[in-house]
Amino acid sequence: MTLVYRNAVGQKAAFKSILVHLRPVALPIGTAIAGIVLWEFAARILAVREVILPVPTGIWDTLTRGLSLILRHAIPTAKEAFLALALACLIGIATAMVLSYSRLLRECVLPNLIALQFVPKVALAPLFIIWFGLGTEARLLFAVFIAFFPVMISTAAGLSNTPSEYIRLSRALNATKFQVFKEFRLPAAIPFIFAGMKIAATMTMIGVVVGEFITAKEGLGYLILFASSRAETSLIFACLIILCAIGLTMYGTVLALEKLVTQRFRIDP
């Protein structure tokens, strides 16, 4: 009797623990599905014209039927976005390291870099076309330009915010400037660096799409403009879905990299 009772309790507890673990995934996905269902019924009941707001099933239909066309345009977009993110991270981290190493350089350059951020960066996109033409380079560099700044600022903040007791220890142990950087400042900055990279992942998508709006003959940004000119609203939404998927993949890549690095360097997340 007792054994049966215990088993029942155990099962109940196990079920409860599964629920608790699923909660952070199940709740947002459930909410999203509910929203989409609501959208479908509301659009049908209110008889909204398809040009204004297509129903989700219609968008799915467009997506599956036009998949080869959409993917053809998605590939250059994804390539540019990933490459831009990688370059933005490399340049951002490298710039921050150089700035953290030289106080003189930091005092000369950093305030200007910050001042530069007050220019609405999207407004500079046409300049990139003048400088780099209508090809991939202009879009890529524009996306890098938009995305590198958060990486640089976070990394610089991380490198200069090393807890003071670690710095005191490094001095007591007669560490060289390079050792202070390698053994103390850089590991302490890693969470900051990844925070910057996560912001950069979303910024690169903005950069690439804006670049495609104004230059391209290919890419999802171009396809959206094309669809808009022909009032194919459901194609716009289909492109947005793929853009979201690319953005999520980039974010996921950054998260995976973060996990890898924090485990390797045993940093408390």
């Binding site: 005191r168 007591a172 590991p187």
Partner: protein, 279 residues
């Protein structure tokens, strides 16, 4: 410039060290003209109320703070920067969270570029065994208790076999029971080593238990008010705390820190909670 006193060499000389901080026009005098010596092989405690500048004094000796006037001399050389002759233990263990316990302990040797590092890894393991950290070499600091972390910090201070140990209230962040443990651990280690120690504390018992001499500092502006020899012979063990002389020493020193004339009485007015008549 080696100075001889009573046949023993001076390991640490603090010559009229004063330290003032000024920030925003407010000048704080942390230490006023501190003057004392610590002989080779001596264990000396600096005892004083919290905030009396005794830690500042230690940081000057360690070369991590600059004296406003006066100087500290370590083994015949004026202190200008941190010396490899010193093993330093802070109030907090200050272990790097991204290194294992053993990596933290051998860090000083790695930074000094001492080769082969394996020698020091072996030494680190032996030190860990001796302080009761056997089996925790690959644990991360966050997996250790507060007392274990401070044990690791002690190992790190000992790894270079530096002749001078400077300790800045190393056990004051620990609970009372762990603290007693750590005192016995430090006493036992100390008596097996041939080192000079300067130990900062605000615990009278701790100072008497561990030291050959106790230097008493007053509250701000801190000056040295007494320099007391502790008459217990070495090697000692925990049992000296039961000696009536131990209690007497503690009492005597307490009297020096808080002279009875300046003791506050903390008396509540008898009418404080008296019922008031309603208007």
């Amino acid at each position: 410039m080696t100075v001889q006193t009573e046949g023993r060499q001076v390991a640490i000389a603090v010559n009229k060290v004063s330290k003032t901080y000024s920030s925003g026009g407010v000048v704080t005098e942390a230490v006023r003209s501190a003057n004392f010596v610590v002989n080779e092989g001596e264990f000396v405690s600096i005892l004083g109320p919290s905030g009396c500048g005794k830690s500042t004094l230690l940081m000057v000796v360690a070369g991590l703070e600059e004296a406003t006037s006066g100087c500290a001399v370590l083994r015949g050389r004026e202190v200008r920067s941190p010396s490899t002759d010193v093993g330093l233990i802070f109030q907090e263990p200050t272990l790097l969270p991204w290194k294992t316990t053993l990596e933290n302990i051998t860090l000083p040797m790695k930074l000094l570029g001492k080769k082969p590092l394996q020698t020091y890894i072996d030494r680190g393991r032996q030190l860990m065994d001796a302080v009761g950290l056997h089996g925790f070499a690959d644990s991360l600091p966050r997996q250790l208790s507060g007392g274990m972390r401070q044990r690791a910090a002690i190992c790190r201070a000992l790894i270079n076999d530096a002749p001078v140990l400077l300790m800045d209230e190393p056990f004051s962040a620990l609970d009372a029971i762990t603290r007693d443990d750590m005192n016995e651990l430090l006493l036992a280690l100390w008596q097996q080593l041939d080192k000079t120690a300067l130990f900062i504390t605000h615990s009278i018992r701790e100072a008497v238990f561990l030291s050959d001499r106790v230097i008493v500092m007053s509250a701000r502006p801190s000056r040295i008010t007494a320099d007391i020899a502790i008459p217990f012979s070495r090697p000692r063990d925990a049992s000296i705390q039961d000696d009536p002389l131990f209690a007497k020493m503690c009492q005597e020193i307490r009297g020096m820190i808080y002279p009875s004339t300046s003791r506050e009485k903390f008396i509540l007015p008898s009418t404080l909670f008296a019922p008031t008549s309603q208007p």
